[in-house]
Structures are given as C-alpha cells and as structure tokens.
C-alpha cells in the first residue's frame, strides 16, 4: 500500500508545528517549525537521532502536550486550538502506541481492564459487550483470551506491545502514532510485532506515523520517510527514493552510518563520518541547524536558514546546497 495508489488525501496536515520548552537558562526548541502531511492508509516514518524532537512531534501532534505554535489538521479541525474536552472527544480517532510498554500500563490493572478502558470511557456498552470486544481484540493481536485476568508484568516485552496495540485499536481509530513501538524488543520479537502492525494496517485501513531511530526498520515499514535533526525536518521523500538517493547531507551521513548485517558490504562501504555529537537543542546553531557537523557547510549556512521546500514532486529538502531540480549535492569527503 503506497501513497501513490491513493489519491493524495491527507489524513493529518501538520503546518509549521512548534513546541518549545522553557528550561532554566533558556528555551529548548524541541520541535521548531515542522510541516508535513500524512496520507490516508500510508505509514509515514519519522526518524532521527536522540534529541531531534521526533517523539515530541508525535506527542504534540496528538495534543498530549500543547503546541507552542502551528497547526495540526485532523478530521477537518485544528487540534492545536481545541480545549481538553474537545480533544478528548477526538481521542477515539487517533491513538498512540508507546515505546515503553511496561511503563504505559497501570501496574494494578489486569490486561483485560487495560484493553477495555478506552471503551469504558467512550462507548456506552454493557459489561458483556465490552467483555466480548476485549476477547476479540486479544485474539486479533495474538493473545489468548484466557490471559485477560493477568497483570502486565506477567508478560514478555513482545506480548506487552501486543496489549498496547490492542488498547490503541479498541476504538477503531483512523490514525495511530507509534512512538518507537519495537525499539525496546529483541530483533526476533521486533519482527513479530512489526508484522502484526502491518497486518492490522491492511485489515483495518489504518494510517500510521511511525517514530523510530532504527533506519532499517523504518525502511521496512514506511511508505514515506521524514528525517529530523534538531527540531526540524531536513528531508522527506518516498522511502526508496530517500534510501537510494538521499539529498540532504545529514540524511546521507545518517544512512551511511547504519551498520549493515553483511560483512563484505560493510568492508567495502564508503562512510561519511560526521564530526562530534548532535548539539544541545538549547543551543541550536544559527542558520542551518546541521551546519556545525556538515562536511559541506558554506558561509551562508551560518546566516540563512535553508527553506524547507519541495525540490521535486513529493520530495522535500531543507538545504541550501540542493538545487531546485533535486539533483544530488556535490560529492562529500569520504572516509573509509
């Protein structure tokens, strides 16, 4: 299911979204002017390194933390302008799957009541109807219905993530944000959960925003991918386009840093090694946020913020050095 097969109907429109936190000694611009659409039935991957603001973007998008500026349009309404009560009424349509499944459950509730809670809040169902629906959901995500009386800590990480998914899906949402849903799991278990999520997407016609730092996983599950760096989206494109032909110097470095499970390729690989670590979001550089680590940075990168623009259809890049036609940047310095 790719974005192209469906007419470009955006389920979620994010425009210039900002989330700033005031901390002692300054402002952290966790999300600083992010714009993208999430199309019906697609999976948009949101990747970046720690502190880039990808998780905050997901939370702000769902109104779990109020936005500082910008808009999030969902079902014809701007979520950023809604009151708590109005947001609550929207919750059934948009859900979140959390990373730390152990922490996202009340340790005193059985998994049956955890999965039932959204229905208890939003639907006027009697006990037996909720009971049936919980059983149905548990089977849908591959849990045995007899386990409903057990507590979250009695399950393994992979199973807890299934509970998390069952809870998120209990109200038939249209849009689901997954915040690193598999990154805490072992590889072989990750695959089980990822497969489950894509099966459910096909079955239920879900639209996903998948936040992750594991690039190979993102490549596997996403139709399109947005790359974030220090609170900004630096590049957004269809998955294969982005992975085969990255335009932004950061995307190029990021992709070249991903270790491949193939020793021969690994040895033959040309890597772009970035200098240093990501700067603190409290002291984001002027102009282009990536310029301090960019091997290609020029004088204007320090003074002028590169506009985030559509360089070719469906392909967005924020870099002074990528020309309008979207052709590749000058070859970068390569270290073996």
């Amino acid at each position: 299911m790719t974005a192209g097969e469906h007419a470009d109907t955006a389920v979620v429109r994010v425009r210039d979204l900002r989330k700033h936190f005031r901390v002692s000694g300054g402002t952290v611009r966790a999300v600083d002017g992010v714009s993208f659409d999430i199309l019906r039935g697609e999976t948009l991957g949101l990747v970046g390194e720690s502190g880039c603001g990808k998780s905050t973007t997901g939370r702000t998008l769902l109104g779990l933390t109020p936005a500082t500026a910008g808009s999030v349009e969902f079902r014809g309404r701007d979520l950023t302008g809604l009151s708590r009560r109005q947001l609550r009424a929207m919750r059934p349509h948009m859900q979140m799957i959390f990373q730390d499944s152990a922490a996202s459950f009340n340790p005193r509730h059985t998994i049956g009541s955890i999965i039932a809670e959204p229905m208890a809040i939003h639907l006027d169902l009697d006990r037996s109807a909720i009971h049936d629906r919980v059983a149905e959901l548990m089977e849908l995500v591959g849990l045995k219905r007899e386990w409903r009386k057990r507590f979250p800590h009695e399950f393994s990480g992979g199973q807890r993530q299934r509970i998390n998914i069952a809870r998120a899906l209990s109200l038939n949402p249209e849009f689901v944000v997954g915040d690193e849903p598999v990154s805490a799991l072992d590889v072989s278990i990750q695959a089980q959960v990822v497969n489950l999520m894509s099966d459910l997407q096909d079955e239920l016609g879900l639209t996903y925003l998948m936040i992750a730092h594991d690039l190979s996983m993102v490549r596997h599950i996403s139709d399109r991918v947005a790359v974030m760096y220090l609170g900004k989206v630096v590049e957004l494109a269809a998955t294969e386009t982005l992975f085969e032909d990255p335009q932004h110097p950061y995307t190029q470095a990021l992709l070249s840093a991903v270790p491949l499970p193939n020793p021969k390729q690994e040895r033959a690989r040309q890597r772009i090694l970035l200098e240093g670590d990501v700067p603190s979001p409290r002291e984001a550089p002027s102009g282009c946020v990536f310029r301090t680590r960019c091997p290609l940075a020029e004088a204007r990168c320090a003074t002028e913020e590169p506009p985030y623009r559509e360089v070719s259809p469906g392909r967005f890049v924020a870099c002074h050095l990528v020309d309008g036609a979207g052709s590749n940047v000058v070859p970068v310095e390569i270290t073996g």
């Binding site: 959390f98 005193r108 007899e146 057990r150 800590h153 009695e154 809870r167």
Partner: protein
C-alpha cells in the same frame, strides 16, 4: 508449521498461568521467606489485641492500689509473687495490667494520629501535586513552615493552651505529621502524572478525574500504607516520650510513658518498674517497622513477582 511446534515444559515459561492458587502460594512464600515481617505482624497483632480486649485479659484493675504488695518484683524473682507476674509499682498497681491497658493509649494515639495526619496530608499533597503551579507553591510553603517548627515546641505550646488529653495528643500528632504524608503524596502524584500510564490514559481520552481516581489514587495506596506503619510506630514512640515529660495523658491514665516516669525515680532500686514498659515500647515500635518493611514489598505488584 505452527502445530508441529514441540511444546516443552519449562523452557519458555515467561507466561505460565498465575492462577489464584499460585498467587496465594506466592504470597505465603513471601511471608515465609520474610520471617522478620511475619514476627513483626504477630507482635503488632498481639499489641492491638491487648489494647482492644484490655478489660478482659488484664489480670487486675490497672488502677487498683494495694500498698501491702507495693514494689513487688517479677514473679520469678526471689520475693516475687505469681499474682503480679511483672511485679507492682510504688503504689502496688499491677505492672502487667498497666502495660496491657497502656497499649490502648499507644494504639489509639498511633492509629488516630496517623489517620488525621494521612487525611490532611493526602488532601494537601494531592492538591499540590495535581494542580501544580501556584497551588503547589502555596501549599509547599505551608508544609515547610510546619516542618520548620521544632515539633516539641509545637507540642508544649498546644499542650499548654488546650491541656493534657488523649484527644489533644492525637490532634497534635495529626497536624505535625501531616506534612510528611503531604510530601510523599505530592511526590507520588507528580511521579504518577509523569508516568507512562498517566500519559497513556490521557491518550485514550480519560478525563482528569478519571486519571486521578483510577490511575493516581490506587497507586498511592502502597507507599501511603507503608509510610503509615512507620509513622504509627514513631507516634507510639513519641507519645511515650511526651508522657514521660508529662505532656501527654494525665498521670492517672495507664500509659507506657507515664509508667516510665514513675519508674524513673526507682530505676536503681526497683528497675522492673521501668524495664517492662520500656520493653513494650521498643517491641511495638520494632514490630511495626519490621511489618512496614514487609508491607512495602507486598504492596508493590512488581516486587511481589520478582521476589
């Protein structure tokens, strides 16, 4: 392919069924493993039993004076008598009976003192933790103010104004101890609000009261009950101290602290007058601490599993 999987018992038993029976056995095993907790509980229950049924189990009236048998030592001492097992005081009152009745004062002060402190503290702590902002700042200021006044000064002033009575002691303890409960509650509420499951509850559209009553409150029970046992033990201790200083119940009321006061003047000659009430105080306080430690483990479902 699925059906061909060979099922091997005990290899992948991450999710072995914890039925009710299994859970009960786990709890039993937990108690058995932690024998100190069990001993604590037993001693504490004995004290409570003594307090409740003091009239029935005390051998004689605790205030019955019998000067002919005054200053008798323990029964097993040379001049002791089995009609006064732990001996008598200077007025010939039976020490065992007074200790049994004294448990009433201690348990009353401990129980109601904690009840008052917990009620006030929980309310303040929840308000502060839940609303944060200026409510939090204001309440925290009040809490710190109470904590900054030395407790003994507080007690002396209140005792001087309102006189000596059990009710006043409970009230004083309730007020001076409330900040400790308030602090714990506030911290826990803040922690739970920031926890993954409070956020998860918000993401599924739970209202604020629902989050408070279904997710925050039940998770407060464990830490609060644990703190309550420790505070109760402390209050029993402090009450004895106040009695000893003559700031608690009137001297006629049998209380462990009062007994110590009387015993003090005869400490070198008739030590049993102080030793047995002293043992009662120490044992009770110790038992509640042991029990509290055990409770802390039992009330946390995660600890319960891993132990």
């Amino acid at each position: 392919m699925a059906d061909e999987q060979i099922v091997i018992e005990g290899l992948s038993d991450v999710y072995v069924a914890p039925t009710l029976g299994v859970r009960l056995r786990r709890l039993g095993r937990l108690l058995w493993r932690d024998k100190t907790g069990m001993i604590g509980l037993l001693i504490f229950l004995t004290v409570v039993f003594a307090a409740v049924f003091a009239d029935l189990i005390a051998p004689v009236d605790p205030n019955l004076q019998d000067l002919r048998s005054a200053k008798l030592p323990e029964a097993w001492a040379d001049s002791g008598s089995w009609s006064h097992v732990l001996g008598t005081d200077d007025l010939g009152r039976d020490i065992l009976s007074r200790i049994i009745h004294g448990a009433r004062v201690s348990i009353t002060v401990g129980f109601f003192g904690v009840l008052v402190a917990m009620s006030i503290g929980m309310l303040l702590g929840m308000l502060a933790g839940y609303f944060r902002g200026w409510v939090d700042s204001a309440l925290s200021a009040v809490i710190n103010l109470i904590l900054s006044v030395p407790y003994l000064v507080f007690v002396i002033v209140i005792a001087a104004i309102f006189g000596r009575s059990l009710f006043n002691v409970v009230l004083i303890f309730g007020i001076t101890d409330a900040p400790i409960f308030a602090r714990l509650t506030r911290g826990e509420v803040l922690r739970i609000r920031e926890s993954g499951y409070a956020e998860a509850a918000e993401s599924i559209g739970a209202s604020q009261p629902r989050i408070l009553f279904r997710h925050v409150l039940p998770n407060l029970v464990g830490p609060l009950v644990t703190l309550a046992t420790f505070e109760m033990s402390a209050m029993i201790f402090y009450e004895s101290g106040l009695s000893f200083l003559g700031l608690s119940v009137p001297p006629s009321v049998p209380s462990w602290g009062n007994m110590l006061t009387f015993g003090r003047q005869y400490l070198t000659v008739y030590p049993w007058m102080s030793i047995y009430p002293g043992i009662a105080i120490a044992l009770t306080a110790l038992s509640m601490n042991l029990f509290g430690d055990w409770l802390r483990d039992v009330l946390d479902p995660r600890v319960r599993r891993s132990r």
